[in-house]
């Protein structure tokens, strides 16, 4: 590393120490501030049943001082003057505000109102009342989270947040998910949102995959225990995201964890156990049916030959099996989880400690995910004016990933479908028949190969908050996200065709993201009518990632799998490090007049090290207005309407997710010739690179009727992304495949609706939450010089073309099978010089009618984008029982089922689906399954074709949660506060036409949406749990 010294790093560290020290200094200085106090006590009762209420928030208005009521409904809070106002609030109840005056005791009856509008919503650098929101923010609360047994925050959003489309890359425990907020807005600069946990922007992209064999990724939030989460907010429009500037074009997901409140310690212990199984198995041929197809495939050749292939030799002991591989590999898998939390606090110190342990087996043999998480959130009131606190979480996970997915014969999922049933499980000597003629044994892959991922992660945030004058607060955060992850892989010789050939690999990453944010917030009422708020601040963030690893081979034994035993180290190119930093300034001003007319302006300036010197800073402004028309006098007669608001916003955000050094170009080491170390130019420089800029317009309406029994939110948006970062293909004569350039435009527009109704109140309660979203994605412009016949080929299956969405499949259209030779009346040939199609061959749509099937007949054969998607939850409760039934749906999306192609590929000697029993066998057969031909002379197999495009629409009974709360009168006797027993079932039923394992599938997390290459299948899970409160 001759050219790199630590100079840069130490320089920045010094600067940052200033950030850190300053707040501490301030803390000492302002400790002398003093004021007069007295204590107010009281009891809060539920007006509907006159029972004391536990956990009601009692807040001193205009401060962040607050307590909550204990089991007897009692509270005690310090105030400063008789003019102070106490706010009492509790979810689902009308809040109350009471001026203290001279009272020492204030008792309150809270009326159930279900007024969700008073809820506080987390926004960038602050909180806001839902009532006053002018941007588009959707929120998922802890109640909804508790009803699921999902183990990561991303899956929870599936179907629950309008505008947020979540698809599974893998059904494996800890497996990857794709998340799109209001559609894909980038071609290859990343489409994942920014995740912010308790104010800490965390690292997500680099965690999604560590190496090559498994391209389906890991879940970047798998380290977060959903039970710790108080709420998840998704910021969608520019008004709410612009304050995160250049990382916000794909939306921002804010995760807020639970904190302590004043009162006696509440201890909660939750234990659960359950089982998972595959949602469905796929039908495959048995050994004799398989052999028949292979024989047919030889006889269907132009010059039929006697099938001599070893595959048919049923006397060969390697080849006389009749194995149902799905039966051998899939299993009913148990899982356990324990959650323990203690929360409480005194007036000055509030704490929340939570730990969890999860042990989850996957439905494929040997796959397992274990995770320990622990979190401590503490807030101290140092003085009246100064608060400090921290949120720190640690997690450790061990993921036995197995080679579930991926291309080729390393994938368990593929092999369990395509390894012929005739290949035996064991050899005569009793050993496993690990490798045979290009097919690996899936049992061997699951049990003998190693693929484990171990990770340790610390996410921490420390803050100091200082009230300077009334309404003006300064906050300084120091945050870090440290991930260390190690992945071990080993492929034993028993699974290889070469005797004694085994290989192993190790990868480790050490990613440190740290930053500091320092900002002033101001909130003040002027007169009775004018409310002004402002935020101004500066932030710095730095990412350092280091990756080490080795590949090795020729281990003397399959039993020693660490790389010290490797006979040959074959690859050390992975030992690399990189760095990236960002310096930002941000600000916000908000104003409302009588809570009726609302306006807000945000701006952020981001400078990123990833961009060329001339293009380094980007500016991201937004503005929004709101009108709560229900406050207008002319609507006061309309009693049904409890609240009504119109919102408009416009603004810009950016995307800087490109390589750390792309703009400078790269000369890479590791381009070795045998053992001679080489170096070669790999990235062509482009110093003019800059952000992708997304301009978004949003119009929304919030309505609530009949004292908030009906809540309705609608949003419409237009999102246009320009200066798309794209690896523009250039002539290979330059020696480079592409240059990264800013090109083209993508547009997403859509509508989102959310309807919450309380259908029945009273003893039997029934409420419904329904949401539905529709997004239209269109590539608006692409530079002329990039287009081939008007489009850009995007991977194997997709094209990018102006006027079409990202995720458009392109290939030949399959229109059935020629029943007989004579049916090809036009004498259509395969290519200009090729043969005529005959009976049993596929009928391809001859698009241009030239009687030749060639490249020019390719056409659009599907679209991975759904027409609409969403979810509906129904909550019922009667006395101590409650039931939640949650459906999730997606409609109108196509899936290109590469796995179905593989399952019908006789060319590769793969086992076939039972559809092959209907195959064309002789002249006159009417079927839609073409004849199998050994060497595929007509490219029936190799074409990208509509035969594998299926309707991926589905409706899923995603979650059912039945809960019984033991009556308090019973459990108080045994010293508990609460005891809940529940049964949760997920993925119970799926209605779909899709013939693969599950329609909720997306093999590539990137642009190539809607491909099923054989991901780890989804499972149906049933869990029983008990939750104790002390």
């Amino acid at each position: 590393m001759k050219r790199k010294d630590d100079h840069n790093f130490s320089r920045t560290t010094r600067k940052v120490s200033v950030f850190v020290l300053l707040p501490i200094l301030l803390l000492f200085i302002s400790n002398s501030v003093y004021s007069q106090e007295r204590t107010i006590t009281g009891v809060v009762m539920d007006a509907s049943n006159n029972e004391p209420m536990l956990g009601v928030n009692v807040l001193l208005k205009g401060s962040s001082r607050g307590v909550s009521t204990d089991i007897n409904g009692s509270y005690s809070i310090n105030i400063e003057s008789p003019s102070d106002v106490l706010q009492f609030s509790f979810m689902g109840y009308e809040p109350q505000e009471i001026v203290v005056g001279n009272q020492d005791q204030i008792n309150v009856d809270l009326v159930p109102s279900a007024d969700e509008l008073e809820e506080l919503v987390i926004v960038g650098y602050g909180v806001q009342k839902k009532r006053n929101l002018t941007g588009s923010v959707v929120s998922v609360g802890s109640e909804e989270i508790e009803q699921t047994n999902l183990q990561d925050p991303i899956s929870i959003m599936q179907g629950r947040a309008p505008g947020v489309q979540v698809t599974s890359n893998s059904g494996a425990p800890g497996g990857g998910m794709s998340i799109r907020v209001r559609g894909a807005s980038s071609l290859n600069a990343g489409n994942s949102p920014l995740y912010v946990i308790d104010g800490v922007p965390i690292e997500s992209n680099s965690l999604s995959s560590l190496n090559g064999t498994e391209n389906f990724g890991l879940n970047p939030l798998a380290d977060i225990n959903p039970r710790d989460i108080e709420s998840i907010e998704v910021l969608k429009d520019a008004a709410s995201t612009a304050i995160y500037g250049s990382r916000a074009a794909n939306g921002v997901v804010m995760i807020t964890t639970k904190r302590g409140s004043e009162g006696k310690a509440e201890i909660s212990l939750e234990v659960s156990a359950g089982v998972s199984e595959i949602t469905r198995k796929l039908s495959v041929l048995n050994a004799s049916q398989y052999r028949e197809v292979i024989i047919d495939s030889y006889q269907n050749m132009d010059n039929p030959v006697e099938p001599t292939t070893a595959v048919l030799d049923s006397l060969n002991p390697k080849n006389n099996g009749d194995v149902d591989w799905q039966e051998e590999v899939l299993r009913v898998a148990p899982q356990y989880k324990v959650d323990l939390a203690v929360r409480g606090g005194s007036e000055k110190v509030k704490y929340s400690w939570a730990s969890s342990f999860l042990d989850q087996d996957g439905i494929i043999l040997n796959s397992n995910f274990r995770r320990v998480t622990s979190r401590l959130n503490v807030d101290f009131e140092v003085s009246d004016r100064i608060r400090v606190g921290q949120s720190i979480s640690y997690s450790n996970s061990h993921n036995n990933r197995i080679n579930a997915a991926g291309r080729g014969n390393l994938s368990v999922v593929r092999e369990l479908l395509i390894r012929p049933p005739s290949y035996s499980m064991y050899l005569p000597d009793g050993s496993l028949n690990g490798y045979q003629w290009g097919k690996r044994n899936p049992v061997g892959l699951a049990e003998l190969a190693t693929h484990t991922n171990k990770s340790n992660r610390i996410i921490g945030n420390e803050y100091v908050e200082i009230d300077i004058i009334e309404g003006l607060t300064f906050r300084s955060n120091l945050n870090l996200d440290l991930v260390t992850m190690k992945e071990d892989e080993f492929m034993p010789s028993s699974l290889d065709y070469r005797p004694g050939y085994n290989s192993g690999a190790v990868r480790a990453i050490h990613n440190l993201t740290w930053g500091t944010e320092n900002y002033f917030s101001f909130q003040r009422q002027f007169g009775n009518d004018h409310n002004l708020g402002a935020v101004a601040g500066i932030s710095y963030q730095d990412w350092i990632y280091e990756r080490t690893g080795l590949d090795g081979m020729f281990f003397p034994s399959d039993d020693i799998r660490t790389l010290n035993a490797a006979g040959t180290i074959s690859n050390q190119e992975v030992n690399i490090a990189g760095e990236h930093s960002m310096l930002s300034y941000f600000g916000r001003v908000s104003y409302d007049y009588m809570g009726k007319y609302l306006a807000e302006v945000n701006v952020r300036a981001d400078g990123s090290s990833r961009f060329g010197k001339d293009q380094r800073f980007g500016y991201f402004p937004s503005a929004s207005v709101g009108w709560r028309f229900s406050e207008e006098a002319f609507l006061s007669e309309f009693r049904g309407l409890s609240d009504g608001k119109l919102r408009f916003s416009a603004g810009q955000t950016g995307n800087e997710a490109i390589g750390n050094y792309t703009s400078q170009g790269e000369f890479a080491v590791g381009t070795n010739y045998l053992d001679y170390s080489g170096a070669a130019p790999t990235v062509m420089p482009n110093s003019g690179l800059t952000w992708e800029t997304t301009t978004q317009y949003n119009a929304g309406m919030d309505l609530s009727f009949f004292n908030n029994r009906i809540l309705f939110t609608a949003d419409a948006y237009l999102k246009r992304t320009e200066d798309l970062l794209y690896n523009v293909p250039i002539p290979r004569t330059t020696g480079f495949g592409y240059i990264t350039q800013n090109i083209g435009t993508i547009e997403n527009k859509g509508v989102e609706f959310l309807l919450s109704t309380r259908n029945l109140t009273g003893d039997f309660k029934w409420s419904t939450d329904f949401n539905i979203s529709s997004n239209r994605n269109v590539v608006k412009s692409l530079p002329e010089e990039l287009l081939t016949n008007g489009y850009i080929q995007n991977g194997r299956y997709h094209i990018l073309k102006e006027g079409l969405p990202i995720g458009t499949f392109y290939g030949w259209k399959f229109e059935g099978v020629y029943a007989s030779d004579e049916d090809n009346v036009n004498g259509i040939t395969n290519g200009a010089l090729g043969k005529e199609f005959k009976g049993g061959d596929p009928i391809w749509d001859d698009l241009n009618g030239d009687n030749i099937i060639d490249e020019d007949d390719r056409q659009i054969i599907g679209d991975a984008q759904p027409d609409f998607f969403g979810g509906i939850a129904n909550n019922f409760s009667y006395k101590n029982f409650s039931l939640n039934v949650f459906f999730q749906f997606s409609y109108g999306n196509d899936i290109y089922s590469e796995i179905n192609h593989q399952r019908n590929s006789v060319v590769r000697y793969n086992n076939l689906s039972t559809n092959a029993l209907d195959r064309w066998r002789e002249q006159g057969d009417i079927t839609d399954f073409p004849k199998p031909v050994r060497d595929d002379p007509m490219q029936s197999d190799s074409r990208i074709q509509s035969r594998w495009v299926e309707d991926g629409s589905y409706l899923k009974l995603k979650n059912v949660n039945l809960r019984y709360s033991v009556p308090r009168t019973v459990i108080e006797k045994i010293g508990m506060n609460s005891l809940d027993a529940y049964l949760t079932a997920s993925n119970l039923i799926t209605w779909t036409k899709y013939t693969g394992f599950d329609p909720d599938v997306n093999s590539y997390s990137g642009l190539r949406a809607g491909i099923d290459e054989g991901s780890y299948p989804q499972s149906r899970t049933i869990i029983l749990g008990l939750k104790f409160g002390f």
């Binding site: 300053l22 070893a310 690399i576 760095e579 990123s608 080491v669 170096a679 330059t734 081939t788």
Partner: protein, 455 residues
Amino acid sequence: MKTIYKLFALFFLIGSTSCSEDVLEKDPISSFPAQGFYKTASDAQAGVYGIYDAMQSTFSRNFAFWGEGRADAVQTNHSGEPLLLKQNNLNPTLNSASWNSLYQTISRANYAIKYIPDVFEGESELGTQLVGQARALRALSYFYAVRIWGDVPLITEPYESINQEIFIGRTDQELVLDQIEADLLFASQNCREQFGGERDRLLITKGGADAMLTHFYMWKKEYSKAIESAQRVMDNGMYSLVNISDWSKIFTTGFSNESIFEIGFNETQTNMMRVLYALGSDSDYFPSEKFRNSFEEGDLRQELIYDVTQEEPTKVWKFFGEGFNDESPDPSANNIVLFRLADIILLKAEAHNQLGEVEEALDLLNKIRVRAGLSELDQAEASALYGDVQSAILQERLIELSFEGHRWFDLVRTGKAIEVMNPINGLSAEGNLVWPIHENAINRNPNLQQNSFYD
């Protein structure tokens, strides 16, 4: 309170000045910025190995597609590329129609050729021979390009900025051939005689450059120059013909004394040799019937090349050894022997024959025949057996160099491609002797014209 305000003022001052943009300067840690890599001798060496890296992937499969796929020695049962080539049904989507990896090699060489001289101050043998290797590898790439596509874009400068002209059209092949000659002459004069050990055959030496020059002059039909450079190879003490008992080892273990330049492969840097030739029941290529029937009685090489006991042999043994049997469609680690002494001897024989020096030609031809256990031929016997001496030499090249990637170029070079291939696949047009340019190349570059036969 005043203190607090002052501190905040200070804070913002610090924040906005010292935290200025220099914290955003991040140089690569594990690679180099594209400009400014070449600084030391070891950089220069690494840059040259980087060229070999590109060349290695160029030839891993294409050496057979380019050199054998369209010719008469191979037969295939494989649909896709092998069949399309064999049936002379070429189209612009073939893998072998793509020049990407050749130009990647050229690009890396252009970087090395431009920057290595600056690394070394003044005259430096190390620097010059490195440039020699780089120029030889560039010449090799262009030589294949010209023989495959005819006119090709001639690029001799590295691409370092988006402002350079990237849409380069095709250059007259005579100009490209001139560049090749200049590069090879430089390499022949400046490359090392030897490095010691395996590198003598894995890297370009003076002998390697002379072997390439011989091929080059044969292609140009400049026979006396071909004889000169071939003579230098034969006089080079590094090379001698191996005994027939070691003939297989030229390919199976590599690094024989007969080998002049072979592309190295290992367990991780693999080639497709097994899939091409030796995959049990399903290899891309197996010996054609015509090839099998063209052996003279008693040719010791026949059973080293394929399984003579099989009526319809389904694979080639030559590169993996007699008795090789394998059903695994996986990559292999054999070196690919690109140039060897027998090849140069036969080229020299051909050159002498072209100049009417028949005796010298027969002498050289008989060296190879005798090793294979065949009788020496005189002019009359050669003519009786094969029509003329030229055909006898070509026949000898067909057998001796079978499947090594020379046959197609031999047929084109000697003007026999149409005569030989017409009965097999109907090849009839001169314009069909080149490949089509890959559609991706055409699509990416508006200034490229497709070869007229394929347009």
